[in-house]
Amino acid sequence: MLLRMRSITKQFPGVKALEDVNFDLFEGECHALVGENGAGKSTLMKILSGVYPCGSYEGEIFIDGEQKCFYSVKDAEKAGIAIIFQELSLVKELSVAENIFLGREPSRFGMINRDLMERKTQEILQDLHFSIDPRTPIGELSIGKQQIVEIAKALSKQARILLLDEPTSALTESETETLFEILKKLKKRNVGMIYISHKLEEVFSISDRITVLRDGKTVKTDLKENLTKNQVISLMVGREVESVFPKISHSFGDVALEVKNLNVYDTEAPNKRILKNISFHVCKGEILGIAGLMGAGRTELLRAIFGDWNGKVTGEIFIEGKKVTINSPLDAIRNKIAFVTEDRKRYGLVIEKSIFENTTLASLKKFAKGFVTDKIAEIKATQELMDSLKIKAPSPFATVENLSGGNQQKVVLGKWLLTNPKIMFLDEPTRGIDVGAKREFYFQIDSLAKQGRAIVLVSSELPEVLGLSDRILVLHEGRITGEFLRSEATPEKIMQAATGL
């Protein structure tokens, strides 16, 4: 037994991220770890790799039967654990060899022994049957090749346990195959691998065993042969939809927003399509949920419609039947679209300013006489918002920084309500707010729809999408792979569409 993690429990303020989780790994084995967004996969891996130091969690970690305590990433590295991150941690300007030996360059009298470094790199790469010139700058390699360099780097540090977190998310099919070839070689060399992926296809092709995490608990660990994809999916989502949602009975009006054949291209690779031929509509008074796994293109879809995408966008947008061109957020606001963005601190709030300065940010001109602001009018409107949205703060002058997450989110919502929108995009609107505040928010979203606004809700939390939406679209790798009415949607069906089965 190479690795054993026993009854790991990790507590964050207000949430139990992991509860009594067990996980083990044999030499030469590939053990897949699957689960919904937020099931606790990355928390578990952060514990294993020393990001969360020993003592910040309960439970024990054994390597080769010996109990270990990692206080830092360095400690874990010394014990032979290496992570290959989703976002590569290579220095683009440096060469392959320089990257592999970064921070531990072979040197004599402070001078780097370049020949030795390049020779050793060559050896490592040859072992993997992979040929690149060690002097090539990393930036010139494809993402797939960079990933392999990253693995080579880990191996050069004598890593025996490799954590692969969504390693194929940026790879093409042939690159994925090359990667799998290499992983198979590593198995023969007795390296143990933990493979995290949303793509069940891959999980079933590369792994030997599969562990399913749900809500921070291990629900199943078994050999691949004993499981089917559908079983894994129902294990992942097997949770009852909680009754924190309002009883929905929306009456729809006309179509508020219609999108036809929307294609969105990557900002850096102009030929790569992030979203492919997306067409959908949403009616007045309807809540349209958009489900999908991370990286499926949900946020990109909203940003592209909102006129905030730097890359190329093609397709047509109709608002109340009229074709519109939206080139900037200002155009979108003029067309009565609001966008409650994810990550409120980064995209939503001017955090060190007062509530009223934030609530009127998108509609300041409405409160101004000519170009002169009318603070009294702003404060009045803000006070009304604070009453109707139940924003708990001493006064409109309170600094947003000092509010709780839920109240901050209400400030963002209030900002958009003051623009009097007909179409509202909500991107992960309840992330990082506590359960009570979430429930309040759900009722607010419901009442926005009842007022006749068209709502597009993006959420990684499946129960949220299921509980709130009248209709659900599922995105997988930039395509719509499923559309379900509220009555026919089940977690299993959505998960199937989201994993591309």
Binding site: I376, I379, P394
Partner: protein, 390 residues
Amino acid sequence: MKEEKQRELQIKLQTSSLRAYTMLAILILIWLFFHWQTGGIFLTPRNLSNLMLQTSVTGILAIGMLMLIAAGQIDLSVGSVLGLAGGVAAIAITYWDYGVAGSIILAIFVCMLIGFVHGTLVAYFNIPAFIVTLGGLLAWRGAIKGLSQGETVPILNPTFKAIGQSNVPANVGWTLALVAIALILFLTYNHAKKLKKLSLETTNNSNNQKLLSVFRAIILSVAFLLFTYVMNLEGGIPFPVLIFLLSALAGTFITNSTVFGRHLYAIGGNREAARLSGIDTKGSIVKVYILLGMLTGVAAVIFAARQASASPDAGTLKELEAIAACVIGGASLVGGRGTIFGACLGALIMSSLDNGMSLLNIRDYVQEIIKGTILVLAVGIDMAGRKTRG
């Protein structure tokens, strides 16, 4: 809830006003110290008039710089642009016979054009402001050296010189002071009336606030009367000082009460959020560079008129003085924070140090070391205070 409201008002009072009062106290301490050290020379009408005159050019630059810094931008080239514009004005009036109005308009126009170029490069071509204006610092200095062929250009026109050297007649000064006081009283009254409309004024604390605003109005009025009286003892308010005060008034109005001003702080505070809220972030950045250019042009004309000439190295290091004034006045170089009042006070503190140390015959190099130390110290103390406040 009521208690919370009171606490909030107290906190607000502390954070926004405390800094201003602290700075005023520091300024007064500096003045008293120099007055004592110079054996009673510092606080004489003659020296105070001189001090105000010295403050005016840096102060006008600091007003523009503050708006730029609030939007999270920076301009290192204002000193060179000031030199260029002064030179252009001098050449235009002395060699090209443009007349007073023509040469002033030309100088200001040149500065606004440069602001437009800087702003466009920063906002639309995504070149960092630091780099664009560092380039400007070199290039515009080179431009004036070339234009003047390295020579100092004399200004002979008496009307032009009067801009920098004349004073406002005493009775006009008094009239202006009375107008200012009337304005202060009107605004205070108006503010109180508006507060009453909101439900905020029911707490005890708002009574305190009302008292405080009355108190502030009285202090300000007395300050204006005293200022006019002292300046009139020395022949009246110097014309450049009047322009400085008017610029400060305009700057305060722009930052406090216009849509544009609010947008500047939002852009500086969180550019992403501002953009996603439909604010034209790029356009606003270009506008604020043009605005700074306009003020630089005004400062350049005053500077040249005071010297009655334009030398090719006029305005050297002025950009750093303007930035230092903003920072001492509490502006954050990250953006989103700072007031015109603070920047003006910062400029006054800087020139008080200059003036006082010169009176004490402190050697140039020592003066520079002291000013540098004080700049770093002021920001250091500010950061320490911020941390404890959490």
